[in-house]
Symmetry: C2
DNA sequence: TAGTATTCGTACTGAGTGGTACGGTTGTCA
DNA sequence: TGACAACCGTACCACTCAGTACGAATACTA
């Protein structure tokens, strides 16, 4: 929600940009595209609308991103980057393993039910190449991080996870259940309290099923 | 896949229909719409294309379904009906409870990863009113069936499921994990063998977590 | 058999959108 | 300071598609 009201950091202006201004403007355009996506849905967004919200011209959008698909793809990639670093941070906290896992689960559910993630996943489902980018830059990058952590718990004798990929899938299923798909279909996302409670239950069950 | 090649049962023809012919033709149109949806995706389908495949005229489609949304909605509803009866049948088999649950899980995964279900879910995600119909005619009708079954197992002392809705969600998460969302994003669905094995594992874990 | 209801096939309209073109504006750089 | 690069704003084109219209064809019905 926080991005919807973002206005370009540097006021839009004709003429050659000041040095270093470009990156900020690219980011502002991506913010605008994401905000349009959240507000209108993938069918509702138009290049004109994004340009207007970003106070940029359509021609600039085409010059920077090649077209509609390139622009949405860039939004996906940027958000995947943010998610990946968030997960990496959560796992490298280095505290009690249950707390770490609950923190991860909470973050996962919060992310998956956020307006932005929902909008991007919906968009990706209408376009195979976007979907591939979403999987490649998201799940396929974040999964291994978690698997590595589970593997370290296994090596330390904390849990029994001889196949980290399967254990990751198990944890994911216990945490997410059918929440993501329901939110994607329009149900209201669970509250922060409900998410934390659900993550706690899920981790308890996970640890129950993987006692060494 | 079986529906893709379906041709209207009664050859299309101008003029007033024969008695009782209408229902078959409506079904043929719904088959055509679903086939187009599977083949082209929700963005690719057009009323013209559906009419051509069904050998019907656009005007007939508008007369019968009111428009694009009504037509897709009708497809969703028909498929939900079929799914609901399939689930009901699986649960009323009346054998060993583990086998019944594995049968349900297998059917669920097979359904959720089928071309038709994937196409309909993708379509629903682009349109709130379609999504609502999908949830109402699908999940919200099928969930209670399973919950009732779990409740009967609880009453019989077979499992410990004081809150059937939570137990249903748990079973769902264990069975489906992230398979549905990945298939929705374009990954290849698991094989029948993999599905059965996954359902077996999931039910074992479920029973493990719900010992009385 | 005449009349009517239902459907096909084709053509048409109107709206919306992706993408392109271009003149005007404003920083940057030599 | 003058040439140039990057960008805005607007207009424009080509295209697609939902929805409508209408005549022709065919089968029920009286």
């Amino acid at each position: 929600m926080k991005i919807v009201e973002v206005v370009p950091v540097t006021g839009s202006r004709r003429g050659r940009p000041r040095a270093g201004e470009r990156e900020q403007r690219v980011d502002a355009v991506l913010d605008a595209a994401l905000a349009e996506l959240v507000a209108q849905g993938v069918d509702g967004i138009t290049m004109t609308g994004i340009a207007r919200r970003a106070r940029a011209s359509k021609e600039t959008l085409y010059a920077w991103f090649g077209g509609r698909e390139g622009l949405i793809g860039a939004v996906i990639e940027r958000n995947a980057d943010r998610s990946a670093t968030a997960v990496a941070d959560a796992l490298e906290g280095g505290g009690d393993h249950r707390a770490t896992l609950v923190g991860y689960g909470t973050g996962l559910l919060t992310l998956l039910t956020s307006d932005e993630s929902v909008a991007l996943n919906r968009a990706a489902m209408t376009d195979p190449s976007l979907a591939e980018r979403l999987l490649a830059s998201g799940r396929h990058r974040i999964g291994p991080l978690v698997e590595r952590y589970l593997s370290s718990l296994h090596d330390a004798g904390t849990i029994n996870a001889p196949r980290p990929d399967e254990s990751f899938a198990l944890l994911y299923g216990l945490v997410v259940q059918d929440v993501q798909i329901r939110v994607l279909l329009g149900e209201r996302p669970p509250s922060a309290v409900a998410i934390r409670s659900r993550a706690g239950d899920a981790v308890d069950r996970f640890l129950d099923l993987t006692v060494p």
